[in-house]
Amino acid sequence: MKLLGILIGCAIAAGGASNDSVLIRGADIYPVSSEPVKAASILVLDGKISEIGLKVVAPKGVRVLDGKGLRVYPGMIDSGTNLGLSEIELIRETVDTGELGEFMPQLRALASVNPDSEHFAVVRIAGITSAMTFPAGAGNDEGGGGRGRPPQYISGQAALIHTFGRTWEEMAISGPAAMYVQFPALGPTGGRGGPVPENVAGLAGETGARTFTEMMRTYQQEMAKLTDFFEEARRYQKAKTASLAGFVRDLKYEAMLPVLEGKLPVAIAAATPRAIHDAIKFAEKENVKIVIVQPRELGSAAAELKAKNIPVILGRVLALPRGQDEPYDEAFTLPAEAYKAGIKFAFGTFENQFVRNLPYQAATAVAFGLPQDEALKAITINPAQIWGAGDRLGSIETDKLADLIVTTGDPLEIQTQVKHVFIRGQEIELSSKQTRLYDKYLNRQ
């Protein structure tokens, strides 16, 4: 089967025709943006979806793939990874997330993406055709005060990339897709313990921990620093616009311009309703677009997110509750809560080794109340729109990039097999380091 795919690919390449055109015939098509169509065809020409219909004829020289009994979905998108930047977590030499420095908006994740990372093949054959890759561990574990480092406020530019390509330029879907800001939080944040509630924090003095007042002071100092940096960037913007005498180009402030102009959203990790509220207040004051990343609790912030049309990237669904007293299914039910509040959201896995489990994380949310079609949207069209690529990715519509997966069934079900993967219309060989090792040792005598 695999071999056949390669042979066909070779035949096409040898024949001189482009290998990013194909007609998938007679499959059940799940466009996401519209109702599924049974036994229909999709024509892909030059990497783009050209035609969808019940009767589509393949132009001369275009390969035909029989999709009978199979389903076609848009390729899945993971909204939170370090793909290409982190190979083996525990070996620092293979990890390029978490640069030093407090304000580092000039850093580009994209240009440090290693296209030959083994992770790419592993995730794309599972149907993940694109991903956001962040310049820092999105769990605030690197650069952001973890490992005994000083806090980092701005980690750099996250990129939306395809999971296939020979160079990072080929993989790039757009330039930067978000500026990653590690927003100051009151007291200890995130992690398994979760934030300290105010009423408990107030008692902390007794145990030798920081008091609420002390935490508040640190928080205000950090907020002031962040605000100052934005203020400086804005002054730089004015100076540049006015072509003031003595204007000197500064790479940090230059990198902030798309943010200040509202062209590049700021991705802000905020775990609690309070942190979310503060982030929204900050974004309004600075007049910048924001995306909230990895909330652990929505609570009173849910209505605000909906009212202000602020999208959210939900972290791992298969996660422990923040504290001892939280319900066991706290993380399982969060997506349904976001859906009921009318918030636009997408899923991120936030750990490279679990990227391929993106659809299963989404499925767990379905078990705990999220409608199945909404779960599917949260790994296809929603992330495409949130990250500024809604016109090119995330659904099966004409003129969109042909990022398609052909499956034996519902991609959210573990037992479903991905039979074909197309990225920009190019069929991907379904092999990875892992399938090669499997083949090698399965046949060991």
Partner: protein, 447 residues
């Protein structure tokens, strides 16, 4: 000692045991096929399973229409319920310490595991030592004390560990040239790990010979002085005698093979290889040795020795004749081992029953408790999980979990009980606040 508390348990049993009939369910027995029918529980044991069953008198009836029942999930590698650190890392051989002594029955991870369908787990010492501490099998009897959680009659174990983790203390941060704040602890290499294990087994063998000699003399009617009891070597003597299971943490094929050969040399069997991420490379050697394998479904690349991990590992090892289980080694993953089993179907095409076996009867076999648990058969403990949907799907969730025929988790009760719990917590917080001295101003206490 042990005998006395078994008696106590037996005396307690009738107090809470009751007759339960679960009706109209799809029952996946694992060992006797799947059927639509009912299940009868008497005195904590499965009394009958069938399409039609005899209704016992005074039975509580659970209608499970459209729902699925599987045997309670068993995790062959967990660290939940351990109070404090799981590692006694100061010595390379820490066989004298016992996880049984530090069980915290109030660890919330127990309840959460239970809510994920887990009814028993192998609680292991950490992996900082080539030979680690003693281990214990627990049932997730949430609400009972530490003693009440212990799986009565399950053979105890001991943790061995190979590869990166046990050699890490030999390579402290800062490198060899740096001024060490923590002194290096032998071993620092895989070579040293093998040597440490052989050295300890060598001592244990001599120690066992002393005791065997003593026993022989006693048998001949002599009155010798007994040898001195050695708390480090005692559990290793039990290993050599086949009275204690070895659960060995390992990753790479070289170290796996090394340990199998060391065990051959000392005449005992490794009970399970834990993690065993490169087990697929030496599957026939593992199969030939009769050793079990307990692995992750799809974890990889978190460290260099996990870089060749493949999600097909479980399937491939199973195909080559190894008894394979899927474990969690994690407080979160333990909550959905049912879908970890489904991954063995996806990666490598394991059958539904064989996949389910990897989280039920196979770990039971590996822990030597398969006559009691691991499948739905008359006479076995009524350790059961009820799912709302097909349990090898991410769309399924656990509705009820029974252990010894008693409901230990009920999703409805959990959800409905939340407002009352929140209220109770608020009351406690208010009370605590009132008992605190009034804050004296903006600043914290002077240290």
């Amino acid at each position: 000692m042990r005998k006395s508390w078994i008696v106590t348990l037996a005396a307690l049993a009738p107090v809470y045991a009751q007759n339960i009939v679960i009706q109209n369910a799809t029952i996946m027995t694992v060992t006797k096929g799947t059927l639509e029918g009912s299940l009868v529980i008497k005195d904590g044991k499965i009394a009958e399973v069938g399409e039609k069953v005899m209704m016992p008198l005074n039975a509580t009836v659970i209608d499970a229409g459209g729902q699925y029942i599987i045997p309670g999930i068993i995790d062959c590698h967990s660290h939940i319920a351990v109070d404090g650190s799981v590692n006694e890392g100061s010595v390379a051989v820490s066989s004298m310490v016992n996880i049984k002594d530090v069980i915290n029955p109030e660890d919330i991870a127990i309840y959460r595991a239970l809510a994920g369908g887990v009814t028993a787990a192998n609680i292991l010492h950490g992996s900082a030592n080539p030979i680690g501490g003693q281990t214990i099998v627990l049932k997730m009897r949430w609400g009972r004390d530490a003693q009440g959680m212990i799986f009565e009659g399950a053979l105890p174990g001991i943790k061995f560990a190979l590869g990166e983790n046990p050699k890490r203390p030999g390579n402290p941060p800062g490198g060899r040239g740096a001024t060490q704040t923590v002194p290096a602890r032998y071993p620092a290499t895989r070579m040293g790990v093998e040597d440490t294990i052989r050295e300890a087994l060598n001592q244990a063998k001599a120690y066992k010979a002393e005791w065997d000699d003593y026993a022989a003399k006693v048998a001949r009617g002599e009155h010798p002085l007994p040898p001195r009891k050695d708390l480090k070597l005692e559990p290793l003597k039990e290993v050599l005698e086949g009275k204690r299971y070895v659960h060995a943490h390992c990753y790479r094929e070289d170290e796996i093979l090394m340990l199998l050969r060391v065990a051959d040399d000392y005449g005992f069997k490794i009970r399970t290889l834990q993690h065993v991420l490169e087990g697929y490379k030496v599957a026939q050697e593992i199969a030939a040795s009769g050793t079990g394998a307990s692995t992750f479904s799809d974890w990889w690349a978190f460290k260099i020795e996990a870089y060749d991990a493949i999600p097909y590992n479980a399937a491939l090892m199973q195909k080559k004749g190894i008894v394979v289980s899927l474990n969690s080694d994690d407080d979160e993953l333990i909550r959905h081992l049912n879908t970890e089993a489904a991954k063995a179907m996806k990666y490598g095409g394991v059958s539904e029953t064989d996949a389910l076996a990897m989280v039920t009867i196979n770990p039971a076999k590996q822990l030597g408790i398969d006559s009691r648990v691991g499948s739905i058969e008359a006479g076995k403990d009524a350790d059961l999980v009820i799912y709302d949907k097909y349990p090898l799907s991410d769309y399924a969730k656990v509705l009820k979990v029974l252990i010894d025929g008693r409901v230990y988790f009920d999703r409805n009760n959990d959800v409905n009980g939340r407002p009352a719990k929140a209220l109770e917590k608020q009351k406690l917080l208010d009370k605590e606040k009132q008992s605190q001295p009034k804050p004296t101003g903006g600043r914290g206490p002077v240290q």
